[in-house]
């Protein structure tokens, strides 16, 4: 009881410090408990969705014309799969649509009918129109929850796809729960049978194979088996998806944020522990005579130590318990945040046990640190305590003697003061380094996302032209590019291959997305991390993630497996590449042909002088080089003169030949009486026209907003923590050195001068720790970006210097303001005590 009373006495005396420790332990516990609860909820939300929908473990989407029945047989024979579900679906890579605001946006989408959906999983409707209303809809569409949660659509609203200059409006019948295809990387829509036919004119047909297997399934192994049996490389013809990948894609960013919050909680914990150590030391120092008196009165040093520990168990305990309760109360908010980031409903069952463990661990840590420092009381027998401890007797060397002062006495006295409090300065330095790293990292992240997802585009590792065109088979790409270059609106045209082209790397079980250009120097958005672009056919460039994960370096050889052969390449450069999860390789057009000699570039990337011209120029291209052939197939032109109608019909026939039978060139001549109407398929150049920028918008916009908001909040939060630490240190220094400051005031030093002295005392430690933090923050930033996005973003030296300077300035301002209590020191009161 006596111990408890002593603790309460100390708490009452130092309310501000106690409040700071409560705040820091509260925040630590809250962040840690939120992490502990949420990290499991992420998994369980997916597991629940997978269970509720009964979705297949694996889904393989084969390009319809490249699918072979043998692929299914392999699954049945080699993987003991008994329930292979097959169906036809449509796939739109970067399918253009209109956002709710009417802006152009693009998604990777697959379209299925209801039968296919029921084959794949339980068709579990969520928020939907009434059934009788749905029946009245001419083009109903069921969208995955992504569109409701992330894009904010509601049943009954219109969702419009755009292709070949035509709009395909659908009415949202409702949203449904889906295990797979609910992430921004791939979304699945359910449309009516009629609309499947309509959309088949726009999007590619794919063969869907859904299956579960008890055996361990490796895509690479499966592809090799497919190749062995069909002698055809399936790598570029298949789009795989499985539960783990879906989970990984959707939770990657959320997990990153949760781990970031753990990092912040560690910063606050370090701060809290430092404050505890600092405060106990100062309390013992300040109350030394009182300790001596109490010991003389018969209190044991053990009891006195316990009174200090008890104080921190109380403050730490209050903070930890409130933090734990807050974390539990915060779980519905966390559910909403998680729902927004995972595009799924999340229902958190508050895991009391985990929260309790975090609370107990926090209290235990606080107790342990308090114990380590409070044990010092044992070293103070009454006589030593009466004499204020042997340490106050100064026998050391006089540091920075005033005799040798050159400039300002205030600076000199401030720096002399540093040496007197070395231990505190070291502790403060550690806190400042941790807080500095957190704050700088957050600033860098905020800066990177300040202009939305433009920063991400810069590290994408691929070109982001205004218009992407996939050409029809057999089209002469070079000739087409030359024609496009002549348009005044065009700035640059590059001939390349459509995305989704993969190659295998020998000795590596992860296939690589391949990008090829004739001349890489013409590219704008490929940022070299090291080395140079490939120039010769035996040179290759790899992504930064591959460099790190596969330990490959410039000058190393790498063997790429083509369809029928494998060739060796020398790595000439490392490129920052976020696309395809950072698994890309880059080679010259000639280099590509070494492994696939018959494969011609099939895509054109057009960059316009003015991005605003994009819609008009897209229409122009459509008019000149035809809408997509598949679109024309189903075009119903019945208006106009006889010749116009004949030409339209001829176009339609040619389009069918091109899109459905692989015909590359068609000429026609129709004689009507004396008139001959002739034409050819030269207008059918464009197979698909889209915009990578629209696709990136759907992929990255929300990530950019969330990260920017999170990093902004983090900066504010850490700034508050820094202010608390410095404030408490300054206040306790004033309290402890009240007598010294009083004497100085009596000598004529003004409060401002003394505040300046106190502020200057933290200057060296602030500068040093901020500089160390600046260096460490670069390392943390690199590690974070590599782990989260597989890239390394360029460091901005001015930003780093600016942030460091701002942090130092902020620390000085906070200390100066906190030292304001010096003003309250009354010389008279001090003298008359």
């Amino acid at each position: 009881m006596k111990i408890f009373r002593l603790s309460l006495f100390n708490l009452k005396r130092n309310k501000r410090e106690a409040a700071a420790i409560v705040f820091l332990t509260l925040v630590t516990t809250f962040l840690m408990a939120t992490f502990a609860v949420s990290i499991t909820q992420i998994d369980s939300a997916f597991d629940r969705a997978f269970e509720e929908t009964g979705c297949a473990d694996f889904i393989l989407l084969f390009q319809a014309d490249k699918y072979r029945d043998i692929y299914r047989d392999i699954l049945e024979e080699e993987y003991n799969v008994t329930d292979v579900r097959e169906s036809s679906v449509l796939y739109g890579a970067g399918a253009s649509a209109l956002s709710k605001q009417g802006e152009s946006i693009a998604y990777n989408m697959i379209f299925v009918d209801e039968n296919t959906e029921r084959k794949m999983e339980n068709f579990q409707k969520l928020n939907a129109f009434p059934d009788d209303e749905i029946e009245k809809l001419s083009h109903p569409i069921w969208l995955p929850q992504y569109f409701e949660i992330t894009a904010g659509y509601a049943p009954g609203e219109t969702f419009t796809f755009v292709s070949g200059g035509r709009d395909y409006p659908f009415t949202i019948a409702g949203f449904y729960n889906t295990g797979l295809y609910n992430s921004s990387s791939m979304l699945k829509c359910i449309v009516s049978d009629d609309d499947m036919v309509l959309l088949s004119a726009v999007y590619e047909e794919y063969r869907l194979i859904a299956f579960d297997t008890e055996k361990k399934f490796s895509y690479e192994e499966y592809y090799e088996k497919c190749f062995a049996k069909s002698n055809e490389n399936v790598l570029s013809a298949v789009i795989p998806l499985d539960k783990d990948t879906e989970k990984l894609v959707e939770t990657a960013y959320l997990a990153v944020f949760l781990y970031m919050s753990v990092f912040f909680s560690i910063v606050t914990m370090i701060s809290a522990l430092f404050l505890i150590l600092h405060k106990i030391s100062k309390d013992i120092e300040e109350q030394m005579v009182q300790i001596g008196v109490l010991e003389a009165l018969g209190y044991t040093s053990r009891a006195l130590s316990l009174s200090y520990i008890c104080e921190y168990i109380l403050t730490g305990g209050v903070g930890a318990v409130i933090g734990g309760i807050t974390a539990a109360a915060f779980s519905p908010v966390m559910d909403t945040l998680t729902r927004g980031m995972m595009n799924r409903d999340v229902h958190t069952d508050v895991n009391i046990l985990r929260i309790l463990i975090v609370v107990i661990a926090t209290i235990a840590l606080v107790t342990l640190f308090a114990l380590s420092r409070a044990a010092r009381v044992k070293k103070l027998p009454p006589v030593v305590a009466f004499r204020k401890g042997i340490k106050t007797h100064h026998f050391g060397k006089n540091i920075l003697p005033l005799e040798k002062m050159r400039h300002s006495i205030n600076i000199r006295l401030a720096f002399k003061g540093i040496g007197n409090d070395l231990r505190s300065n070291i502790g403060m330095g550690i806190c400042m380094i941790a807080a500095g790293v957190a704050i700088m990292f957050s600033v860098y992240t905020f800066d990177f996302f300040k202009s939305g997802y433009n920063g991400l585009i810069g590290v994408l590792g691929m070109e982001t032209p205004d218009i992407n065109i996939i050409m029809m088979n057999g089209v002469n790409g070079e000739k087409f590019c030359d024609e496009i270059r002549k348009f005044p609106e065009v700035e640059k045209v590059l001939l390349t291959r459509a995305m989704g082209d993969y190659v295998e790397i020998k000795g590596c079980n992860q296939s690589a997305a391949v990008f090829s250009y004739a001349d890489f120097s013409l590219t704008d958005n490929l940022r070299l991390k090291a080395g140079r672009f490939p120039e010769y056919d035996n040179e290759i460039m790899i992504s930064a993630r591959r460099e790190k994960t596969e330990n490959r370096h410039i000058g190393d050889s790498i063997i790429i497996k083509g369809d029928v052969c494998e060739k060796s390449y020398i790595i000439t450069g490392i490129v920052t590449a976020m696309n395809n999860n950072g698994i890309s390789v880059y080679m010259t057009e000639d280099g590509y042909r070494r492994i696939r000699p018959n494969d011609r570039p099939n895509a054109v990337e057009i960059t316009l002088k003015n991005e605003e011209d994009r819609p008009a120029f897209t229409d122009k291209l459509t008019a000149l080089y035809g809408a997509s052939a598949k679109d024309t197939t189903y075009a119903q032109t019945v208006q106009g003169s006889l010749e116009e109608r004949i030409r339209a019909k001829a176009d339609e026939k040619m389009a069918v030949l091109i899109s459905q039978y692989g015909v590359t060139d068609v000429d026609y001549a129709i004689r009507i009486g004396d008139t001959v109407i002739s034409g050819n398929s030269s207008r059918f150049v464009i197979k698909e026209i889209s915009s990578m920028k629209d696709f990136l918008k759907s992929q990255m916009a929300s990530i950019a907003v969330v990260t920017k908001t999170f990093s902004f909040c983090a900066v504010i939060f850490i700034a508050v923590v820094v202010a608390v630490i410095l404030g408490i240190i300054a206040v306790s220094a004033v309290k402890r050195q009240r007598r010294e400051f009083g004497i100085m005031k009596s000598m004529g030093y003004t409060s401002r001068e003394l505040m300046t002295q106190l502020t200057l005392r933290v200057l060296p430690v602030t500068i040093v720790s901020s500089c160390i933090a600046a260096v460490l923050s670069v390392w943390v930033q690199r590690a974070f970006w590599m782990a989260a996005f597989g890239v390394q973003i360029p460091e901005s030296l001015p930003l780093m210097i600016g942030t460091t300077a701002a942090l130092v300035l902020y620390c000085l301002i906070v200390t100066y303001i906190s030292a304001g209590s010096i003003r309250k020191i009354s010389v008279t009161e001090l003298m008359t005590e």
Binding site: T392, H393, H394, F395, N398, P401, L402, E403, M405, R406, I409, R412, L413, K416, G417, N420, R739, E740, G742, I743, M744, K745, S746, M747, G748, Y749, T750, S751, R752, E753, R823, S826, V827, T828, M831, T832
Partner: protein
């Protein structure tokens, strides 16, 4: 000699209707009441009175350590009672020196630095200043070895000598002392008083609070305070210029008259 007499007549500090009150909750305690007082240049003024008579309060109000509740304090022609705390601090460092009963040396600084901390508040560092500080310290019996010591390694008398050097190093217009020998043994006290006498002989104005007759004997003017008012004043020649016995008797007589 004539010059000295003239100097004595110039007031370096004076007050008009000086009042100082302290409030403790609802209770208002008037410590100094409507006090008009002049401190003459070159004078060694000793303030005496019973405990609680307001001696120290008056000293702090005169020296700008504390602000009066009412009334005016003139330092030369300058009114200081309305100064802000920081203005008062600047005023103090330029015009006042302080010697305290509890000495109040900076414990983290050695003897030399303690004095220099005071000196550098006003003067810039120069070899001449350092030399003067060292000479002054040597003059009060603190040699080079002592100058390197820290306060906790000094005796009370030694520490107070440092305090005096620190107080006079900026050549203040007035040296204020609040019972400077109060915490010292008689031998140390005598040494300290000798220093004060020496300083005064050099023309330094001194205002000292004491309730010790031996200390008061060093002054040239003794004012007696009762209930915040000056109730009596006793003038004396400079210490050593008259017979000490007679001086003591006269002072004792004065104090008896005041009810000491």
């Amino acid at each position: 000699m004539i010059r000295k007499v003239v100097l004595y007549m110039i007031p370096v500090l004076h007050t008009e209707k000086l009042c100082k009150s302290f409030s403790n909750g609802a209770v208002q305690q008037h410590v100094i009441k409507n006090l008009d007082l002049e401190i003459m240049e070159g004078d060694f003024t000793v303030i005496m009175g019973a405990s609680g008579s307001g001696k120290s309060t008056l000293l702090y109000a005169l020296s700008g350590m504390d602000k009066p509740t009412l009334g005016k304090v003139f330092f030369g022609d300058t009114e200081i009672q309305d100064y802000t705390n920081d203005q008062l601090a600047v005023f103090r460092r330029k015009n006042c020196g302080f010697v305290f009963q509890s000495i109040y040396l900076l414990e983290n600084q050695n003897v030399l630095d303690n004095v220099l901390t005071g000196a550098f508040a006003v003067q810039k560092n120069s070899p001449a200043l350092i030399k003067r500080v060292k000479e002054l310290l040597a003059k009060v019996g603190l040699d080079e070895a002592m100058q390197k010591k820290y306060p906790n390694q000094l005796s009370g008398g030694e520490a107070q000598r440092v305090g005096i050097v620190r107080a006079v190093i900026n050549e203040p217009k007035i040296l204020f002392a609040d019972e400077p020998t109060g915490s010292l043994n008689s031998a140390s006290g005598r040494d300290v008083l000798d220093i004060f006498t020496g300083v005064h002989e050099n023309g330094q104005s001194i205002v000292m609070v004491t309730h010790d007759i031996k200390t008061a004997l060093r002054g040239t003017r003794v004012i007696y305070l009762r209930d915040g008012k000056v109730v009596g004043e006793h003038r004396m020649a400079k210490y050593g210029e008259d017979d000490l016995k007679e001086r003591r008797e006269k002072l004792t007589g004065f104090l008896d008259e005041m009810g000491w």
